[in-house]
Amino acid sequence: MATLEIDNLHAEVAEDGGETILRGVDLEVRSDEIHALMGPNGSGKSTLAKIIAGHPAYEVTGGDVWLHLDGDEFDEEIPEDMQTWDLLDLEPNERAALGIFLGFQYPAEIEGVTMVNFLRTALNAKLEEREELFEDEDEAEAEDDEEEDAGYETSPMEGPADEGEIGVAEFQQILQEKMEQLDMDEKFANRYLNAGFSGGEKKQNEVLQAAILEPSIAVLDEIDSGLDIDRLQDVSNGINALRDEQGAGILQITHYQRILDYVEPDHVHVMLDGQIAQSGGPELAEKLEDEGYDWVREEAYEAA
């Protein structure tokens, strides 16, 4: 079980004289919950997503982002002093190791790196980093000494060592299973990461990665844009499975009601000018669909 707690978050673009984008965001997403984050273009939704994941282009000027963990993925008790993490102090890969996942609106295309190689490397890196984060310092030192004495084992001519906790064969099976669930062609496994993928394939791939990396909190940035109706259903099924089967908390950024017909949110938030201006249940999304954002703006500024 995990909770992502965002408290009065302020942020600007990291370069000199950068524009202020977030002006005090408060939000809490728990495991098993689906939150929809809506709002007009330029209101700060994508920036919030990137800051949660640790993107270096933004500078946090105030507020906090906490991750509270009650148990790990096997629901084993985590020691009390390691339950709360200040995400802003951590590198992006450390955040990933603790269970934060960002589904990108425009994922990078990496030529020459096959999906299967990338995903296995990422999963093993995550598992290893996680272990290190939870290891106390004495243990870490003891292990360091041990590793130093272990010496060198592989020769350059022997070929790649099968590094990591999850071996090639085991991973193939995991991947195949997840791809079947998402109705993805198995030849994807040997294609280069996102290279030459259609918009829909890229989105499907983001959900596939989330399914494999098993995050506790998944932030999905406009995962529904550019999808035809069949793909939208596949992607939605994938997102529902993240919650229903893996117990992930979902923060889904979207412009449209459309995806919310398939992925029903527990909570809907409207972002305006870098703040959460309105929160409610699924009915809020429907109202936005019918009436647009103007009324939210009016209410927000009247209140102010």
Binding site: P56, A57, A96, I110, T121, E128, M157, P160, L213
Partner: protein, 476 residues
């Protein structure tokens, strides 16, 4: 991957390439280059008179030719002083031209190659390995089945003795004459060791032929010659690996490679080189392809202070094909000037050049290429693609493609891209759990994938590890 393990792996690789042995040689010429030196080398090798004459003629040419000069962006060679180079060192082994078995080699040499993994390659039943230590091939082995087919694989010095007629006809005559350039002339004068590969007509050598060259002594030059002759409709893949440890004085590597691709024959020449940061790597490599022959060059150039290397193919017969895949990596203080040359001298010839370069910490990579399509080389086509990847704003990458097209009915394409390692790409991989270093390494590994997929797995792994080592320090 944890940073601890990373450290281990790097140390591991570093230890493997940077160790050096105390010099223990049977014979060396001493520094400098005179007619007397050449005579001594030739005599020590017990060479026929014609070879001595060729060496002396080449020496004269070397002395008369100017250093390459006035090339835009070319490496600075002012430090290359041939009088400071020891051109010839024979290691201390009893048998000239290679020990018969691994165990016969002196322990220090065994140990050196052990660290480089040569015996492991053998254990993996890779067909043949010749290993050159300093100036001589010290070990080689070839499967009997090849010998039965008439395939010859031996070191070049031995070839001069045992296959004199073939060598006399092909050695630096039609393919790489000493007059080609100053360092080809130098090579012709002082060459020593290297590989000789002869594949008879209609013979396919299924497994790659391999050689490994190691320059171990300080301030020496290495001038190995590789001569590959593939007769009509034969097929062979030759692979060469090279490395040298770091010393304070500069080293010079000036190899020569000549490849004869017979009608309908197919030769692939692959090399992964890792020279120390003070080595000047100035080579001449050329192939001549007869009708319907195919020549493929695959090269990874790591290390060296400066490299000037432009493997060339002359497409002499109609329907001949040439493919070049090259990768260069330049770090701090390094200038890797490399590319390809192709001469389309017959109709229906085809060439592709794919060049990839990576530069970081102020390193400089150049692609310097020449495609010449002669008048009458109808229906020929060429495609050149150069991609450069840079780590930072201090590094430089230039593309200098020359196209000399004298025929109308041809198809010519050139494409070049230059990019920095993208912050968004790195962030994407980090958000999936990879740390900064691993993310960059993965991007670079993907960038060079077209090269690694052409190589047997051991060399691909080696190349990836070398690049990891090169990237150390620029990261984190």
């Amino acid at each position: 991957m944890s940073s601890d393990q990373d450290h281990l792996k790097e140390t591991d690789t570093e230890a493997r390439f940077e160790f050096k042995k105390e010099e223990k040689s049977a014979f060396e010429t001493g520094k400098g280059l005179t007619e007397e030196t050449i005579r001594v080398i030739s005599e020590d090798k017990d060479e026929p008179e014609w070879m001595l004459e060729r060496r002396l003629r080449a020496l004269k040419q070397f002395q008369q030719m100017p250093m390459p000069d006035g090339w835009p962006g070319a490496p600075d060679l002012s430090e290359v002083d041939i009088d400071q180079i020891v051109p010839y060192i024979r290691p201390d082994i009893e048998t000239r031209g290679g020990a018969d078995s691994w165990e016969d080699l002196p322990e220090e040499i065994q140990d050196t190659f052990d660290k480089l993994g040569i015996p492991e390659a053998e254990k993996n039943a890779l067909s043949g390995v010749g290993a050159q230590y300093e100036s001589e091939i010290v070990y080689q082995n070839m499967q009997e089945q090849w010998e039965e087919k008439g395939v010859i694989f031996c070191d070049m010095d031995k070839a001069v003795q045992e296959h004199e007629e073939i060598v006399k006809e092909h050695f630096m005559t039609k393919c790489v004459p000493p007059s080609d350039n100053k360092f080809a002339a130098l090579h012709g004068a002082v060459w020593s060791g290297g590989s000789f590969v002869y594949v008879p007509e209609d013979t396919t050598v299924e497994m790659p032929v391999q050689a490994y060259f190691r320059m171990n002594s300080e301030g020496m030059g290495q001038f190995e010659h590789t001569l590959i002759i593939a007769e009509e409709n034969s097929e062979v893949h030759y692979i060469e690996g090279c490395s040298a440890p770091k010393y304070s004085a500069f080293n010079l590597h000036s190899g020569g490679v000549e490849v004869f691709v017979g009608e309908g024959a197919h030769v692939q020449y692959s090399t992964v080189q890792n020279w120390s940061k003070n080595t000047y790597n100035l080579n001449t490599k050329r192939a001549i392809a007869e009708a319907d022959g195919t020549m493929e060059w695959v090269s990874g150039s790591m290390g060296s202070k400066a490299t000037m290397l432009y493997p060339a193919t002359i497409l002499k017969g109609p329907g001949a094909t040439d493919n070049h895949i090259t990768i260069a990596f330049a770090g701090e203080g390094q200038n890797i000037d490399t590319g390809a040359k192709v001469y389309h001298n017959a109709p229906d010839t085809k060439s592709t050049i794919e060049s990839k370069s990576i530069s970081k910490d102020g390193g400089r990579t150049n692609y310097r290429g020449l495609v010449h399509i002669a008048d009458g080389a109808e229906n020929s086509s060429t495609s050149v693609e150069c991609d450069a990847l840079m780590f930072d704003n201090d590094s430089t990458s230039d593309t200098m493609p020359y196209m000399e097209i004298q025929e109308q009915k041809v198809d010519v394409a050139h494409e070049a891209t230059v990019g920095k390692i993208g912050d968004e790409d790195v962030f994407y991989l980090q958000s999936r759990g990879l740390d900064d270093d691993d993310a960059k390494q993965m991007i670079v590994a993907g960038f060079i994938e077209p090269i690694t997929e052409e190589l047997p797995i051991e060399y691909a792994v080696e190349l990836n590890r070398l690049i990891e080592l090169e990237m150390e320090g620029s990261l984190g």
